[in-house]
Amino acid sequence: MYDTNLVLGGKEFSSRLIVGTGKYASMDVMREAHEASGTEIITVAVRRVSLPSGESILDYVDTKRYTLLPNTAGCYTADEAVRTCYLAREAGLGEMVKLEVIGDQRTLFPDVMGLLEATRTLAREGFTVMPYTNDDPIMAKKLQDAGAACVMPLGAPIGSGLGIRNPYNIKIILESVTVPVIVDAGVGTASDAAIAMELGCDGVLMNTAIAGAQDAVSMARAMKLAVEAGRLAYKSGRIGKKLYATASSPIEGLPDWTS
């Protein structure tokens, strides 16, 4: 079946799975998992260089093959997030950013007020802004209006693995905005990713579900298949749900077994 590519900041991506670089058992496992996921976009945090500076995560990410997506994880204000994006751009990590403005350490839920402000500032400065937000359709629309290149509602809290807790809100978000909708956070296993895609989402972003799995490389492949399967099912137009059975075989032409 013909499918369009995911377009972000004027760039086209055939993979709809975005993955992270945290929490892997080793750098080699991470590299293999990236490979198995079929991803084209990899998100990285921006942190202080440890001194003396040792090996870099980018020794294990082929920057010619993957598009880097610096994120502002750990930023609690719009100002910190914006400065982090400027640093990322200056570091040569590009202008596509996963914007996080975290509201609270325990839940890691977004501070949507700060998020909106940072989105507006960064979009004006020419960044391709991908904001991590709540599963709130009103906020999604506001982010789009502020210049976001896509909206990335959470399925459940970051790292929780609880799956898509409010598919109906995700559905309303899909109807509320024209920019791509990428579920960011909450995915625990393959079916969660498939559900997001079956709802009509344009992509899924995950880290812990892969990195934290007992076999991260196999889980990465499972996620690749799930995202593809969910997308294909969505494009194929599923059947309606009915309470009672509908026979698949014709009723006419049954032999007569009555005596």
């Binding site: 929490k23 945090a45 202080r48 260089v49 500076s53 870099s56 640093l87 570091a91």
Partner: protein, 70 residues
């Protein structure tokens, strides 16, 4: 006489007149995918050799790390 600065939150004493370029060389920091901010302002790569560090300057040197999108 030395100049007291902080680098990534750690105090450091350096020679007067040391530039950002000199500091990165001193610390043997890889330049690729690295960015520097002095007192919250980003120092463009092209100006590393021109920016001199002064007493009390707070230098941040960052680069990509594993993480985010947990």
């Amino acid at each position: 006489m030395s100049v007291k600065i902080s680098v990534n939150g750690k105090p450091m004493e350096v020679e007067p007149g040391l530039t950002v370029e000199g500091l990165l060389t001193l610390l043997d920091v890889k330049r690729e995918y690295t960015a520097v901010a002095v007192n919250r302002e980003i120092t463009p790569k092209a100006t590393y050799a021109a920016v001199t560090l002064n007493e009390g300057d707070k230098v941040e040197i960052v680069r990509p790390m594993g993480g985010g999108a947990r």
